[in-house]
Amino acid sequence: MLRLLRWLRGYVRFTVSGKYPERFINITLRNQLRIWDAVRREDSLSACMYMRDYLHIRRYARGSGVKLRVCERRGLPTLLQRYSDRVGLVIGAAAFGMTVFIMSLFIWTIEITGTESISESEMRAMLAENGIYVGAFKPAVDYQSVSRAIMLDDTRVGWMAVNVTGSYASVEIKEQTPSPEMDDVYSPCNVKARRDGRILRIDAEEGKTLLKEGSGVVGGQLVVSGVMEDMLGGVRLVHAKASVIAETDYHADFSIPREIVTYVPTGEIKKRYSAELFGLKIPLTLGGVSTVDVLSDEREEAAVPLSVQLPAGIVSRTLYALEREEVSLNDNSAKELLIREAQLYEVFSRADCTVTKRDYRFSQTGDGYELTAGFTCKEDVAYQEKIYMDDN
């Protein structure tokens, strides 16, 4: 600290040569001038003194018969004096200071922690909607109201806080823990079939089974009743619960025209780079591919030193040239495409049941091809329906 203060005030290291340098020291000290780091050499004495004090000691040196020689000047005043003629340097330093100050008024890095089911990009979009994004003006953002607004908007967010340190915003999130669904096991209900089918198996835990395995069932038909009768003819209502495994049928139609348009890669690939700095994209390379139709793949590599994402990075964009091509399909290729479509339908639309049999019927229409797909599935068709009672 003392060194810093000395440096700020500026000091000189000087040598005192003569017969009695001690006398000079005493006279100087008597005049309330500070000396430090006094080192004795063979024929001289070296010491330090504040620059302002040094201006007054010439007469004391003359009085004590010693000669003074400045070895070096140090400190801030020396530095300022050295660069006072270089206006550009001063302007540059001022501009640098101003830039740092202005830049510190914006948010340049956002880090989100604590997300589990909410994706980071989703949270970034929500924050951006409420005014927190890379490049946001800090004084214009009310962090507490942003937290409150997001917590009200999205029920998945149980608690959140936005802490801003300098230009770095840290968003901490605790997601809402959903309360577990309570099974209603007491209210009386029936078990019915969701859709038409042939019953393969009924596993009834509670209730009176009305249908037998192997019999057919239509959608909405009562399978297990919640109304139980005892030996004496009395009626008791129960919460019927059962799984009804049935064989069901599904049909789906797929069609494709004879002439289809496809985009085929020509093999021409072009890579374009751009630097992203504080939300601005600066292109580093120019040029594109020769075709109109292009497939673009963009990747962003942000600078993340010590796990802190900086508002700088390189964006690489790969352009693949595509050529529009009209293809006329033959029977085999049309069938292949339609079966692929049927398989996708099976995977995505019939994910809740097990397909045991597939039946594809391929036919030609006036302007294309058609595939009628039949799926035989095994699934649980049971659903519970509450028994409403009138107290009167």
Binding site: P21, I25, L29, I35, W36, A38, V39, R40
Partner: protein, 87 residues
């Protein structure tokens, strides 16, 4: 000034007035703080003589340095081998 020095200074302020006699505090034989000095009479790397009220303190040794000097106090460091008081 190091933390040690400032602690010493602080303790010197707590000392009771001794009627103009100097306060001399040694840290082993490596450092000495003299409060109440009236001037340096001789200064070389082997010997430092300090005038105080009523006596002269002579410190002999090797590599003696006046690390910090003010009008009434000074800190000397080095390897002190001998101390003498001339009354």
């Amino acid at each position: 000034m190091s933390k040690n020095d400032s602690q010493k200074k602080h303790r010197l302020h707590e000392l009771p007035p001794m009627g103009g006699t100097p306060c001399i505090e040694f840290s082993g034989n490596r450092e000495v703080v003299i409060e109440g000095s009236k001037g340096v009479l001789e200064y070389s790397t082997g010997c430092i003589r300090v005038n105080t009220a009523g006596m002269i303190v002579t410190l002999s040794g090797r590599g003696l340095n006046l690390r910090c000097i003010s009008d009434s106090a000074l800190i000397i460091d080095g390897f002190i081998t001998d101390v003498a008081f001339t009354v």
